[in-house]
Symmetry: C2
């Protein structure tokens, strides 16, 4: 069973994530960020690493890609909002994305 | 130089593509279709084959994925509309997608 982040967890984590460019989606309890890469090859490499991780931990993104741009959104279906699973995947995105993002 | 499909090419190809579930995007000269797979693994397999092909022929999709669903849109930036490149990638999508789609 996955539960939504508590108010304390939110105030601990969200400000830092906002500094990293993550935004709360309007009207939903979800976090989104747009990454831009040098080209499609680089964008696809990023997506591929996330795809492998996501399927391994059974927590999948919503994402849109066109050429070098990836808009990725995390939220947890089971609890209809942000959970620690999203924080884990957000951290992974930040870990593997090029520093310029 | 890539040119937009002629009226003759459109009347030759578009009706068949519409029968296959492709739709013209409202307000744009682009074709879109939503494919549904058994799970993320299957959806990602489909996307991966398209990614390799797209980068090889340097013609990339706009696409959205969440779990087992892939919404894919084709249009040609250079001519601001549908070209034979899109027809080629649409045909490839149909070729590799499971028959149920």
């Amino acid at each position: 069973m996955v539960s939504k982040l508590s108010d304390t967890e939110r105030s601990t984590h969200l400000p830092k994530l906002e500094q990293q460019g993550w935004k709360l989606v309007q009207g939903r309890d979800a976090l989104t960020k747009t990454y831009t890469f040098s080209d499609f090859n680089a964008a696809w490499g990023f997506m591929s690493r996330i795809a492998l991780k996501a399927d391994k931990v059974d927590h999948h993104p919503e994402w849109f890609n066109v050429y070098n741009r990836v808009e990725i959104t995390w939220s947890t279906h089971e609890c209809q909002g942000l959970s620690e699973r999203d924080l884990g995947m957000v951290a992974f995105c930040e870990e593997i994305a090029p520093q310029k993002n």
